[in-house]
């Protein structure tokens, strides 16, 4: 796999300082690293493995298992389009197309300026609001191509 270089590990050390140096801290540390960098740099995983005393293979296994973690840099705002049954029926695919048309990225891709990433998710548990799109931390219910556009232009 392709390694994305990362030189500044100071944020990782700051995160590690907040947790006990033991295996049970692993997921919390990785969540914080993901938040700090918007992805998990390979070097950060190596540092975490060394400091928590967890084999690197285990850290990599956890980092690749959970969808909340990404080994590739993600955009500052992540757009999650729900493609669960209710959202699918109410037009999730049009919403994906709209994002694709405006930002020129497909599911799993990130814009060149690192502003946005597009992801599809299976169900966010808000079927009554279908179709649902999560822009950053904001849940947008009954999403339409037009409402989506305002969020994408604002780039929040």
């Amino acid at each position: 796999m392709e390694r994305v270089p990362c030189t500044d590990l100071a944020p990782v050390d700051a995160i590690l300082a907040r947790y006990p140096r033991e295996e049970p801290s692993l997921i919390q540390v990785l969540q914080d690293v993901q938040r700090a960098y918007n992805y998990l740099p390979c070097e950060a995983l190596e540092r975490v493995a060394g400091e928590l005393g967890v084999p690197l293979a285990k850290v990599f296994s956890v980092a690749t298992f959970y969808k909340a973690f990404s080994l590739n840099p993600q955009g500052r705002t992540i757009i999650k389009v729900c493609t669960g049954t209710a959202c699918h029926i109410r037009g999730a695919s049009q919403l994906i197309e709209e994002v694709q048309r405006r930002l020129d990225i497909g599911p799993g891709e990130t814009t060149g300026d690192m502003a946005f990433s597009l992801q599809t998710v299976n169900c966010v548990g808000a079927c009554a609001m279908a179709p649902v799109v999560i822009v950053g931390e904001k849940y947008v219910g009954a999403a339409k191509a037009t409402t989506l556009a305002t969020y994408l232009d604002r780039g929040e």
């Binding site: 796999m1 390694r3 390979c42 995983l45 084999p55 690197l56 293979a57 285990k58 850290v59 990599f60 296994s61 690749t64 298992f65």
Partner: protein
């Protein structure tokens, strides 16, 4: 000691043991793919399923994996009920879809009457059945160089970042325990290569056989506090030496017959 009934036979099994061991002790064969005495039970392959019931359950029963189910007093086990056999057939059917070219899977599926998978054939046939034996033996050795990577249909066994694993010492435990020979390695002329990593071999100072990697000797010596020289001599030479010492202690001369017998 709990007393249970397996396929009509009364069986005694020690507390804390699992149903699989009890079945085998009773001479009843249960198919398994992810079980190995060197590692903890895992319950990954789901082939060892059996039906368990009790008289007071009024005909209700539950299906459990024998390798992870602790023996209980008074349980009645059926290892070949139609439901059990059908479950094993489905598991083998799925495995055959994943690994259509793997002789072990073909043979096992064939023995359950599954000669062709009823599922969509894997477009990229593999020999890996994800039994986890390789990662578990690697953990057991205290190395943990490889692990399960990704999830769902894309899950595979790989080293970190899918690069040559930094922690691997080239002991080949993973390749040797692999039931389907999925994990390949190359060995030639004092070198060994596995997981894309090259290893220099150590030659036995007595017989000159390249029997262990340098990394392996370093790892074990560092781990146990046993002098590194202990790992340099190969097992066969060590046995010979021990036999010679034993012969000397017994007061006899070391004869060629003794040497031959201990090789």
């Amino acid at each position: 000691m709990p007393t249970l009934t397996i396929d009509g036979k009364t069986v005694h099994a020690p507390h804390g043991t699992f149903l699989l061991a009890a079945c085998r002790a009773a001479g009843i064969e249960i198919p398994t793919l992810c079980e190995h005495p060197a590692v903890e039970p895992y319950g990954g392959c789901r082939l060892c399923v059996v039906d368990v019931t009790r008289p007071e359950w009024n005909g209700w029963n539950k299906m459990v994996v024998a390798c992870l189910f602790p023996v209980e007093d008074g349980i009645i086990v059926d290892t070949r009920s139609e439901r059990v056999l059908e479950t094993r057939r489905v598991v083998l059917d799925l495995l055959l879809a994943r690994c259509p070219e793997t002789p072990l899977i073909q043979a096992l599926a064939g023995s359950y009457g599954v000669t062709k998978t009823s599922f969509v054939l894997n477009p990229e046939p593999t020999d890996c059945i994800l039994c986890g034996l390789c990662t578990r033996i690697c953990d057991r050795m205290g190395i943990s160089a490889i692990s399960s990577v990704d999830r769902g249909a894309g899950r595979e066994i790989a080293p970190p970042f899918k690069e040559p694993p930094p922690d691997c010492v080239g002991c080949l435990a993973c390749a040797e325990i692999c039931p389907t020979n999925h994990i390949r390695y190359e060995a030639s002329d004092g070198r060994r290569r596995i997981w894309g990593k090259d290893f220099e071999m150590l030659r036995c100072p007595r017989c000159g056989r390249a029997h262990i990697t340098v990394a392996q000797a370093d790892f074990f010596a560092g781990k146990n506090g046993v002098p590194r020289s202990y790992f340099e001599t190969c097992d066969a030479c060590k046995r010979k030496e021990l036999a010679a010492t034993a012969t000397k202690l017994a007061g006899g001369a070391s004869t060629p017959a003794v040497e031959q017998g201990t090789r």
